[in-house]
């Protein structure tokens, strides 16, 4: 159990990170990178040095000889290295918090001794409201990715930054033709300002490219509202949400903000009642799995339904197909009931489809209430047409220089030879990226970029809120912010920090904004007026879309990997997909009906062919996929990449087509052929049905209104009969409640738990052997018809039973109860009989089958030093974040006050984008948990066992 880091800072720590204060500008205090990397001896090699009592006995364990025991045992010399210079802000052992933002989500970074170790949502943000999704949680691990580029290079040979800048400047001055900077969609006012300045100075053009584009929606808004931008939503205001394949709670965009708003209306006690969510989609999405009514419909059927709606709410006439009539009638009925408080969405990247959506929202009067289109001058959005134009210009040798900043178009266009050959005609190709990618492999200048948490930036996370990105650590490697690389080339003096501070000037309270991480720029969202008159012509175009023949291929972003930019992050790879529960791979998802007709089953290997593209993938039979379709997750199949992402799955971007001015992900058709069987599919859950057991209790909103105990009225006569008197309960008694209505199954809590508790990553093979280590898992069950299934998600973690069956059976008292009601697992006492896991009815105990690799030195910097790392042979499980409880209590004691409700937030609760998890002291009647426990919806899983769990669930309510 050698925790490599936990002890290391025992009496002062030798690593000398110098980080900006939470609230102040300390740019000057930065120490050199070399110093940062200088780990004190004994800190990371403790593992080999350690000869403790236990290790010694381990060696001696089987020996019968007693005499050597008394022999002299050498005390290993452990060094304790203090700081040489006093760090005013760092007290070893005490965490510092810094506000920052990641991919449009305001976050707080917890740092210990200068190392970021945990990401949490920023509660000061009105946008994210303290939630954080899986990618934001996992981003801290990407910071320590050993595959990051470390030094600048030209044509493959490492150079200094000075040499780099000089050579590049020289070449640029010679380059003829367009000079183009390709970034992802930018919402950073200061970065956009910088790029504008550079375009004047250097003639640099700026285009944006997103791996998964939203050009369709932006173009539609441009037509209907005259602004090339994306809509914003207010799900809390929407009584009815109708979504056509839009995964707004999952991978679509701003999932945390959406879920925060959406979940408020999943509370049956909300003053306006529950919302109603109808999802029509061709592939089971996370959002669809939460719908009150979900309809599996192919893309064509979706358009048919949409046209029918357009006919109902616009100047067009259309009769739905027979199989869609019911759906259309249902949707029209619901929408008409809530005009002005409805919201219609589509996940399509087709401009015309999105125009129809806008028209429907407009005619329902939703604009300005649930949906907003505002003028966003700070924004540079991707436009697929510009990208295609760039490729054409490159091919025509009209481009002299191209800069890629944090984008990987070669991969995201499916390793297209077209782009590669076009790039070869460009003289200067600069990649400003964090890690090697397909794109950077084609570049001749590589300028390694800082990770977000090493960078300064800002970001408009919504049209009203500005978030600051500030570094929490000095650059680990010889990298540079891409903005500073450009500044250096463009001859702008100073650092980007100076530029930013200068840019904002007095417009914001700089220090306060850095401290809070966010500031409100505007008080309210505004909406420009709707301009489009008739939709007749648009609708006709949509009606006349030509369909390909054969199987429709649906490329989609899954929750964990998204567009693949973070594919090299092991936490995300190992995060079970909320729907398929598969990890470490993408798969060909086909409907049960199709599987039956073709004789396919989960685990078969198929080849999906479309045109020249062939993808070999394992099959997962997925309820809720349209019958004549195969769904494939994007973001996998990196040919260039880190040790994690390489050779995982197939690149489904190769099936993306450029149609109607945008990249479309559902436009390919093809065929599917079985080429093998017995694929190793690493799924954490292999049985998908509840078998009629009373595990997830569910009711409808109507039934709930009549009887709040609806669906939860099962009475076990002997449920609380105990032959023994209960142990005394006083002091604090911790309990948790999980609202099954709010929980979307998004799995952000799993990554949060991983990061907080040093949960190891075990890899594909071990997951395939069903040895996942997640302390918290999300059980997902299907109900009803396999082609139109209902889905329930249930977070399952240690239930901290008062009559814990695991405790009785441990021979060595390695798991016992604490006085505050926690089922404690004492790692260092565990001998690993696994009896506790066998006897756990919830199967939430996790065993260390091997000594799991914690990675290289740099990667181990992410470990939480307060939590021991478990070595092989030890059982582990959810501890109710005991370290946070301890910390909260200690803080209260130091401040000589009682604990307040909310002082202690466990990691899963903290990250939850839908506030589904409540934790607290159930002895105090004032706490939120006490109120939840008194709710009529409260139940415990497997109540009849009388193990008396401390984790409670609230009945799931569907508004149908």
């Amino acid at each position: 159990m050698s925790n490599l880091e936990k002890e290391s800072c025992g009496s002062g720590c030798g690593c000398k990170p110098s980080t900006p204060d939470y609230w102040q500008d300390v740019e000057n205090k930065v120490v050199s990178k070399a110093e940062l990397m200088e780990f004190p001896e004994g800190e990371f090699d403790n593992f080999s040095v350690r000869k403790t009592r236990r290790n010694f006995l381990k060696i001696m364990g089987y020996s019968v000889s007693a005499l050597p025991l008394t022999g002299c045992i050498k005390i290993p010399v452990r060094k304790a290295l203090p700081y040489t210079y006093k760090q005013n802000t760092i007290i070893p052992g005490v965490a510092n918090w810094y506000a920052s933002a990641f991919n449009g989500l305001p976050v707080l970074l917890k740092t210990r001794e200068g190392r970021p170790i945990k990401v949490e949502g920023n509660e000061k943000s009105s946008f994210g409201q303290g939630g954080a999704n899986a990618q934001a949680q996992a981003s801290v691990l990407s910071l320590y990715d050993t595959n990051r580029l470390r030094e600048p290079s030209i044509e493959g040979s490492e150079v200094s930054w000075e040499q780099f800048d000089d050579s590049l400047r020289k070449l640029l001055s010679e380059a003829k033709g367009r000079k183009v900077l390709v970034t992802k969609s930018l919402r950073s006012p200061s970065e956009i300002s910088l790029v504008k300045e550079l375009s004047n100075k250097m003639g640099l053009e700026h285009i944006a490219f997103d791996a998964v584009s939203s050009t369709g929606e932006a173009s539609a808004n441009s037509e209907t509202h005259g602004v090339y931008t994306l809509s914003e939503f207010d799900f809390e205001q929407a009584d009815v949400v109708v979504s056509f394949g839009n995964d707004f709670l999952g991978a679509h965009r701003s999932d945390v903000a959406n879920a925060k708003q959406f979940s408020k209306r999943r509370n049956p006690k909300h003053s306006r009642g529950m919302n109603k969510h109808i999802q029509v989609e061709s592939n089971m999405s996370l959002t669809g799995s939460n719908a009150d009514h979900r309809f599996t419909r192919s893309e064509q059927d979706q358009r048919d339904i949409l046209l029918s709606l357009a006919a109902e709410f616009g100047d067009y006439s259309h009769m739905p197909k027979a199989n869609n009539k019911e759906v259309v009638a249902k949707i029209i009925k619901e929408l008409k009931l809530s005009r002005g408080n409805a919201l219609v969405l589509s996940g399509s990247n087709d401009k015309n489809v999105q125009i129809l959506i806008n028209q429907i929202n407009h005619s329902l009067g939703n604009y300005g209430k649930t949906i907003f289109v505002s003028e966003k001058s700070y924004e540079k959005l991707s436009n697929d047409q510009e990208v295609e134009q760039l490729i054409a210009d490159m091919n025509g040798s009209r481009v002299g220089a191209v800069f890629f900043a944090g984008v990987d178009p070669v991969y995201a266009l499916g390793e297209s030879e077209r782009l590669k050959s076009a790039l070869s005609k460009v003289r200067v190709r600069v990649a400003m990226v964090e890690s090697a990618s397909s794109t950077s492999n084609t570049a001749n200048f590589i300028a390694p970029a800082n990770h977000t948490y090493e960078s300064w930036s800002d970001e408009m996370v919504s049209s009203t809120e500005l978030a600051m990105v500030q570094p929490a650590i000095q650059p680990l490697f010889g990298t540079r912010m891409w903005t500073e690389t450009l500044m250096s080339l463009g001859g702008i003096e100073g650092s980007f920090y100076d530029y930013m501070k200068n840019y904002w000037g007095n417009r914001i309270d700089w220090n306060q904004t850095l401290h809070d991480g966010v500031t409100q720029i505007k008080s309210e969202k505004d909406s420009v007026s709707y301009k489009l008159g008739s939709i007749n012509s648009v609708a006709k175009k949509v009606k006349n879309y030509q369909e390909g023949s054969g199987l429709q291929i649906i490329g989609f972003k899954n929750y964990a990997i998204g567009d693949g930019a973070m594919a090299n992050n092991p936490w995300l790879q190992e995060l079970p997909d909320p729907i398929t529960k598969a990890t470490w791979d993408n798969h060909a998802l086909i409907s049960p009906a199709y599987a039956k007709s073709e004789g396919l089953s989960t685990g078969d290997i198929v080849e999906v062919t479309s045109g020249k593209t062939k993808l070999k993938l394992p099959v997962i039979v997925q309820p809720g996929v349209a019958q004549n379709a195969v769904a494939i997750a994007l973001g996998y199949g990196h040919s260039v990449g880190g040790k994690v992402s390489r050779k995982l799955g197939a690149n489904a971007f190769s099936l993306v087509k450029f149609v109607n001015g945008s990249y479309q992900y559902t436009a390919s058709f093809g065929s599917l052929k079985k080429v093998g069987t017995g694929a190793k599919i690493a799924r954490t859950q292999t049985h998908q049905y509840m078998e009629g057991r009373d595990i997830v209790r569910e009711t409808t909103f109507d039934a709930y209104k009549k009887n709040p105990k609806a669906g939860n009225d099962k009475v076990f006569k002997l449920a609380n009969v105990d032959i023994y008197p209960a142990h005394k309960k006083d002091g604090h008694q911790w309990a948790m409640a999980i609202n099954m209505s709010s929980c979307t199954g998004c799995s952000a809590c799993i990554v949060s738990c991983n990061a907080e508790n040093n949960v190891p990553v075990v890899g594909k093979t071990e997951i395939a052997r069903k040895r996942d280590m997640h302390w918290l898992r999300l059980d997902r069950y299907y109900k009803g018809d396999d082609n139109e299934p209902e889905v329930v998600h249930q977070p399952m973690l240690c239930q901290h039973c008062e009559n814990a069956p695991c405790e009785n059976v441990c021979p060595v008292l390695a798991t016992v109860h604490s006085s505050d009601g926690i089922n404690q697992q004492i790692y260092n006492r565990c001998v690993g009989t696994r009896y506790c896991a066998n006897n756990c009815p919830y199967k939430v105990r996790r065993f260390n089958w091997f000594n799991y690799d914690r990675g290289e030195e740099v990667e181990r910097m992410v470990l939480n030093p307060d939590i021991s790392q478990r070595t092989r042979g030890i059982m582990e499980k959810c501890s109710f974040c005991i370290q946070r409880i301890q910390d909260g209590k200690l803080k209260a004691k130091r401040e000589r006050r009682e604990l307040q409700d909310g002082d202690i937030k466990v990691a899963c609760q903290q990250s939850c984008p839908s506030n589904a998890i409540v934790f607290g002291d159930m002895m105090n009647p004032e706490t939120e948990i006490s109120k939840q426990l008194a709710d009529e919806r409260k139940y415990v899983v497997l109540e009849e066992l009388n193990v008396q769990p401390r984790v409670n669930y609230l009945t799931k309510i569907r508004n149908k």
Binding site: T70, I73, L81, T84, Y85, S818, S868
Partner: protein, 204 residues
């Protein structure tokens, strides 16, 4: 009779040997009395004893967090940039600060990774003097480990003392009451939120 005597001697010898083994075995891994040479010949007796410098002047984390901390070398020079600057030991400090190289102190008190100990909990909340665990530091020319720092030692202290509120903050006990009630009379160590009897107070 001789045989009996022989047997008795053998038995006693065996018993003594076993006791010796057990006593020794119980010390394995416990480094009580460990007094390694340090790179700088620092005397606690001089600074803490004779000069009566407050412990937390140097060990500045003791009331704030988990670690008491070894002072940054700069802290030494707060005085020693004026005092005894010519001493070869002090020159080491100056050299360290000049070069930025850390002074590699040898760690004396060592807890294994699976044991969480928080100084603030004891120093700040518990109001316990440093000497309670670290011994008469003010008399130590060379610092040594005064106690075993083993689990039994921790536990016994908690058994004997319960939770004693700091003199200046008696209200701590009202906030965190003892929960001895409900446990059998005569129980040596009770679990209680106040008294550190729960395993996961230290092990997680």
């Amino acid at each position: 009779m001789k045989k009996l005597l022989g047997a008795m001697v053998a038995f006693i010898a065996f018993g003594a040997f076993s006791t010796f083994i057990v006593v020794q075995a119980r010390q394995i891994g416990y480094n009580q009395g460990y007094a390694p040479d340090q790179p700088v010949a620092f005397s606690h007796a001089k600074h803490a004893g004779e000069l009566e410098i407050d412990c937390q002047y140097c060990h500045y984390g003791a009331d704030k967090g988990r670690h008491a901390n070894i002072p940054p070398t700069e802290t030494c020079l707060n005085c020693h940039s004026q005092v005894k600057t010519n001493s070869p030991e002090i020159r080491k400090l100056q050299a360290s600060v000049d070069s930025g190289e850390n002074i590699q102190w040898v760690k004396v008190n060592f807890l294994p990774d699976f044991a969480y100990f928080n100084h603030a909990q004891h120093v700040n909340v518990g109001g316990i003097s440093c000497q309670k665990c670290h011994g008469p530091v003010q008399e130590m020319e060379i610092y040594y480990q005064h106690e075993t720092l083993g689990m039994g030692w921790c536990i016994n202290c908690h058994r004997e003392n319960g939770i004693a509120p700091p003199e200046d903050h008696p209200e701590i006990n009202d906030v965190y009451p003892d929960t001895q009630e409900g446990y059998p009379a005569g129980a040596h160590l009770y679990q209680g939120s106040g008294n550190g009897g729960d395993c996961s107070k230290c092990h997680y």
